[in-house]
């Protein structure tokens, strides 16, 4: 890596742990194979479950015949939609989904029944004996068709569902959102150039290496304990209780280690079913989805239809933007309304555009649900918007970086809609990748046709900028001082593999100036942890970190009150010393240890020391004086981070195959709490984005997903890793962030498809408007260009 590692510069004082590249706290157990994931948990007398999936995209369920399945030896319980109450539905934005199909099936692969049996083989045998009487209904598989008049309705009466915001749900419209700033209709007249184009993006599978699963146990009093692959024990609790009509006191949710999430473990998968099976059988029950079932029943990244129109002045100044999105939401709302609202907020990118109309809809279709996935709609709109900026630059005869630099947010510029930005590292991100890539020397303005000597490869460079938020909703932290003066940190934040346990512990240790091994981390537990909405939306470092710092500050205050009494001085005259001591400022020999203070608190005065803090992100996203808003799913979303990326690709003229040779990704992280972990996020996001750009695509043949396996759905391997992948951490010091930090989980993916598409365009002279840029699409585009001079390809 090219940027300096903080470990070398700030670790001189042993207590300085923020900024150090310490290994993950779970290193030992993850490296010797003893870390326990959901599939590794076993309980005494545990049953195993299997699911039955719908063979039809849309059908009414007229009845179930469970006789043969129940008669099979070793079967203990079967659950179907008949076990569910009609009014018990979940949904982050629209309450439209039961624990499994009830009344109707709405996509091929939807879960219609589940069996708990002595072992998995019996359970799988039993589900095949279940008879379901279906009445076939016409299906709608495409979002455009879904919104056409007279289209079959995925939900018979969607308008009746509870909506948590003004979603406008009706017919096959799951939600609609519109933001309007300035006067876009009048602004086109002020533009010297207006470019309008349509783009399409595909469905991408999250493909956490760990498939989803859950294990539920019921005690003698009927209380359920539930472990699962999850991104939030509190979301699991909410979904299960909503769908089963349980009071939250009846369900305790815990977490094993998590084999990554990327969004697909944030909302529910099979947790409600497992709780139901445990209740019905009175036994512990475990279910781990097969890879195929995981592909077919969990969720994926939304396919987008994008129409985007941008107007500029001759000098490159951006004036106006209209963008219209149509998202395939699949059968249930899930996080779709949020993805739409967020994509519309972010579509303008980190640029000043005075006149904007951003609007769109999510359509229900008879496909699997689409939901949260790293980037949350931004990779899609960034692909379209950054491709359009390159087209504009070419038409104006400007360098793509010069066009971006002319318009990008700087100084006190707010984000679209008016939210002030207090830390903006964008210029440094762009300067860094421009310098490190050698852009000026390496990028050619026009594509160079391959040499005639048989080498059919040509190269190109592309650039893209983006932004992301850190924040969203509520969280908390509790810091307790133990008798010996060490501390326990409890945040309820699930570490999904990204290293949040380590980062939050670093912050707590730093705030109290104790070594990391004096801080224990409590595992998330809905009985004992403070609420944490989830490890999602790039919020663990930034928002949970804020709570950790505030809870630690409360502990510091109490420590000083005790120390003041013990040292007979005012608390204001005290300071924390490294290693767990409180001393009189400037008089280090007049000190007391945390152990002595905690002993006093435990046994004599005041009681055990506990610091706690909760917060909710409360800064408004939109200034109502600037923007007219309809259907806003998040009113207060987060602080902004920025990123810039340059990639160099090689395109094979003969085959259309694209290879990424080098990539430079700079992300504004505010402050890197753990540089190694932060770079890991950027590197991992790049490869996941590269798969999205070049190869990954869920494909349906009619209603049926045809490639739900790793054999047929290809993600990048070590062979496709670029020769050089450089991650740069840009520190802009966010005033509201813990130690100046912002989060880094998602931002690294936003620019990847856009930068690769622009590089391919630079190499070939063809602008591609549809992802992924697989060899077939690129070759067809190049051949059409050669044959007819067509510069734009689907």
């Amino acid at each position: 890596m090219n940027t300096p590692d903080h470990a070398g510069t700030t670790a001189r004082d042993g207590s300085q742990v923020v900024g150090r590249a310490v290994p993950q706290l779970e290193a030992a157990e993850k490296l010797d194979g003893s870390a326990l994931y959901i599939a590794d948990l076993y309980r005494h007398g545990m049953l195993h479950a299997a699911i039955l999936q719908s063979p039809l995209p849309h059908a009414r369920i007229k009845g179930y015949d469970l006789t043969a399945a129940m008669a099979l030896k070793g079967v203990h319980a079967i659950v179907t939609g008949d076990d569910l109450n009609e009014s018990h539905r979940m949904g982050a934005f629209i309450k439209d989904e039961h624990a499994m199909a009830k009344g109707k099936v709405r996509y091929v692969g939807e879960i219609v029944a589940a069996v708990a049996a002595d072992n998995e083989a019996i359970a799988r045998q039993a589900v095949r004996l279940i008879q379901i009487d279906y009445e076939d209904l016409p299906a709608v598989l495409d979002p455009v068709a879904a919104l056409a008049p007279g289209s079959p309705l995925v939900h018979d009466n969607a308008a009746q569902y509870v909506q948590v915001f003004d979603a406008g749900t009706q017919g096959n419209v799951c939600s609609r959102t519109s933001y309007r700033q300035g006067d876009v209709d009048a602004a086109w007249a002020d533009c010297d150039l207006v470019v309008e184009r349509e783009y399409r993006t595909q469905a991408q599978a999250h493909l956490s290496m760990e498939p989803c699963g859950a294990l539920a146990e019921i005690d003698a009093a009927g209380r359920v304990t539930l472990w699962s692959a999850n991104q939030s024990v509190f979301r699991v609790q909410a979904h299960v209780c909503e769908t089963l009509g349980l009071p939250m006191t009846r369900l305790r949710c815990l977490t094993p280690r998590i084999g990554a999430g990327f969004g697909n473990k944030m909302e529910a998968h099979v947790q409600p079913l497992l709780a139901l099976l445990a209740i019905k059988s009175g036994r512990s029950v475990k279910l781990i989805l097969s890879r195929e079932e995981d592909f077919e029943t969990v969720r994926a990244r939304h396919p987008f239809h994008i129409r985007i129109k941008t107007g500029v002045r001759r000098d490159g100044t951006l004036v106006a933007r209209e963008i219209e999105l149509l998202l395939d939401g699949g059968a249930f709302g899930d996080d779709s309304p949020g993805v739409l609202g967020y994509a519309l907020l972010m579509q303008g990118g980190p640029y000043r555009i005075p006149h904007v109309h951003a609007h769109g809809r999510v359509a229900y279709t008879n496909k699997m649900r689409f939901g949260a996935f790293r980037g949350f709609g931004v990779p899609q709109v960034t692909f379209a918007a950054e491709s359009q900026l390159d087209e504009i630059a070419a038409k104006l005869g400007m360098d793509p970086i010069a066009l971006r630099r002319k318009n990008m947010l700087a100084g006190s510029d707010p984000w679209f809609g008016g939210q002030p930005i207090l830390s903006n590292g964008l210029a440094e991100c762009l300067d860094t990748v421009e310098r490190e890539s050698g852009w000026a020397a390496r990028r050619v303005a026009q594509p160079v046709k391959a040499a005639a000597d048989g080498d059919s490869r040509r190269r190109g460079l592309g650039v893209a900028l983006s932004a992301h938020i850190s924040g969203l909703l509520s969280t908390g932290a509790i810091v307790r001082v133990l008798e010996d003066g060490s501390v326990v940190l409890n945040t309820g934040a699930v570490d999904i593999g990204q290293g949040s346990n380590t980062v939050l512990t670093q912050m707590c240790a730093q705030a109290l100036k104790v070594p990391m091994d004096r801080v224990a981390l409590a595992s998330p537990d809905t009985d004992g942890s403070p609420y944490n909405w989830g490890s999602t939306a790039s919020r663990a470092t930034y928002l949970t970190g804020r709570s950790v710092v505030a809870a630690a500050a409360e502990v510091e205050k109490k420590l000083k009150e005790h120390a003041g009494a013990m040292l007979e001085c005012a608390a204001d005259d005290l300071e924390l010393l490294s290693g767990g001591h409180v001393a009189i400022k400037g008089v280090q020999q007049r000190s007391v240890s945390f152990a002595d203070i905690s002993g006093r608190a435990h046994w004599a005065f005041g009681g055990p020391i506990i610091g706690s803090s909760t917060c909710v992100f409360d800064q408004a996203t939109f200034d109502p004086k600037r923007v007219a808003v309809l259907g806003l799913p998040f009113a207060r979303i987060g602080v902004y981070s920025f990123s810039a990326m340059i990639v160099e690709v090689e395109v094979d003229d003969a085959t259309g195959r694209v290879k990424v040779l080098r990539a430079w990704s700079a992300c504004d992280v505010g402050r890197a709490i753990n540089p190694r972990l932060a770079k890991g996020q950027i590197e991992g996001a790049f490869m996941q984005g590269m798969g999205y750009a070049l190869s990954e695509e869920l494909v349906w043949d009619g209603p049926r997903l045809v490639n739900p396996s790793l054999m047929d759905y290809k993600i990048p391997t070590m062979v496709e890793l670029p020769d050089d992948l450089h991650a740069y951490l840009i520190e802009s010091n966010e005033p509201s962030g813990p130690f100046g930090a912002k989060s880094v989980g998602e931002i690294g993916i936003n620019t990847v498809a856009a930068a690769i598409a622009n590089a391919v365009s630079n190499a070939t002279g063809v602008q591609f408007t549809q992802l992924p840029l697989n060899a077939e699409r690129v070759l067809r585009g190049m051949l059409a260009h050669e044959a007819s001079g067509n510069k734009v390809a689907p």
């Binding site: 290193a27 490296l31 799988r124 290496m209 992948l725």
Partner: protein, 168 residues
């Protein structure tokens, strides 16, 4: 998926697992992965795809790397099976583990046992692999978290540490 009818008709099978003789039972269609994980509770090898693509279940059978999900347990009668649990005490594995920790060559850790077993096998046959050899040898182990950069660096670093160890 694999376990279906007549699953209860398991017959005895004897394996050598991590140096110990193990008498267990397996049906004809039970894979070695099922026996290791569900019967012997050796859970380092993970079931990521159950069709031999992801590499998370990589183990050694008679000294060769194999996908445990593609090995039928009954076909392994008498075989010498080694999982990550049985390699933890070896010097080469400990070098690799130290290098993985130092380089941040894992995030969620789900693919890590398979990665380590593959890397260990690579260094056994090719103690000083160049980057190309590392990428080729480990391309059958999928990771969705790290982007692979840190894994390549860790394997290189373990090889370098091993060389320094041998020279000193």
């Amino acid at each position: 998926m694999s376990e279906t009818e007549s699953s209860t008709s398991a017959s005895p099978v004897t394996l050598r697992v991590n140096g110990e003789t193990v008498h267990t039972v397996a049906a004809l269609h039970d894979t070695l992965l099922t026996v290791l994980r569900d019967r012997l509770q050796l859970t380092a090898a993970k079931r990521g795809c159950n069709q031999g693509v992801c590499g998370a279940c990589t183990i050694l059978v008679d000294g060769k790397t194999m996908r445990a999900c593609l090995c039928l347990a009954q076909a392994c009668e008498g075989a010498e099976v080694r999982t990550l649990e049985g390699l933890n005490d070896t010097q080469r594995m400990q070098l690799l583990q130290a290098a993985f920790a130092e380089n941040g060559a894992f995030q969620c850790g789900f693919c890590t046992p398979g990665m380590l077993v593959s890397a260990n096998a690579l260094l056994e046959t090719n103690p000083q692999p160049d980057e190309g050899a590392i990428r080729t040898a480990m391309s059958g182990n999928l990771c969705r978290c790290t982007g692979y950069v840190s894994i390549v660096a860790a394997v290189k670093s373990a090889a370098a540490m091993s060389k320094r160890g041998a020279e000193s």
